[in-house]
Subunit: 152 residues, 2 copies
Amino acid sequence: MKHSHTIGEAAAASGVSAKMIRHYEKIGLIEAADRTDAGYRLYTPADIHTLRFVRRARNLGFSVDDISELLDLWKDSARASKDVRRVADGHLSALRSKAAEIHSMIDALEHLFENCTNDERPDCPILKDLADDANPARAKDVGHKFGFERVC
Amino acid sequence: MKHSHTIGEAAAASGVSAKMIRHYEKIGLIEAADRTDAGYRLYTPADIHTLRFVRRARNLGFSVDDISELLDLWKDSARASKDVRRVADGHLSALRSKAAEIHSMIDALEHLFENCTNDERPDCPILKDLADDANPARAKDVGHKFGFERVC
DNA sequence: GATAGGGCTTCCCATCATTGGAAGGTCAAG
DNA sequence: CTTGACCTTCCAATGATGGGAAGCCCTATC
């Protein structure tokens, strides 16, 4: 084949490590590459194009399953924008949930910090709260995500 | 021992699953529990207190390593608030970075969505961008975290 | 007292994406 | 021909959790 590259070149050109390229091949995300007589994998510019697609989607946090679906849509010239939107929208929702979750943690920690004196006194409110056993009976406060209803 | 509980009771009272309690014991996060003659683990209220501490710290996203350190500080009555702050502050920084990263992804995806028509036309800009190979030479744009400098 | 059920035990495997290493084959330049 | 950089495969580990199998233990009911 013309313009074929080794896995190292494909890795450098695509931004996906050689290790991960082999991995993606093994799990079936990308097709098995052609080989030289010696068994070296060979990559065409089109393959590298695909790898760049994969890297960009990974950088956006898409799961391998998502990317597999996106690749199918990408290769299918008849695919509709709304199918892509469906995948991307699901991912966007997951990202927003994750962001909310992280902000809850940040808020809780910042709240504790406000009362933390940063001095040598051993009555740190952060530990105090984590250890707070004042009401051990309500062990099943599952509704309160971070067990912080009694804090501060 | 008085007031000893089975692992199931400890799990219900602490909010940590029995599976995870055994796991935490195996990896050394908590001490090995006493056993009955039959080999059942026994947990005192103090043990359950510790488990609640662990659960709360996990809910705040602390890693097992962080929690291990927090537990040491907790048990050491001479520990200083600033040591706890150090651990918690490191964790808070990591959370803020993670939040920023996620918001970058969300912004990038939302930006693409603005131009996505959600109709049957196959020229979806989301795929188009992921596939964009207009400038394949700059494969090492590591500085641009999401490979999005050319988008939209 | 036998039996059924549920809880307990250990051990192994799976997830998810990625990285590391070991042991060995191949290629190009010096 | 040697050296060193590259390639190959396979195996293992990460971190936190879950699932399941095989088997033991305890209690309640018949």
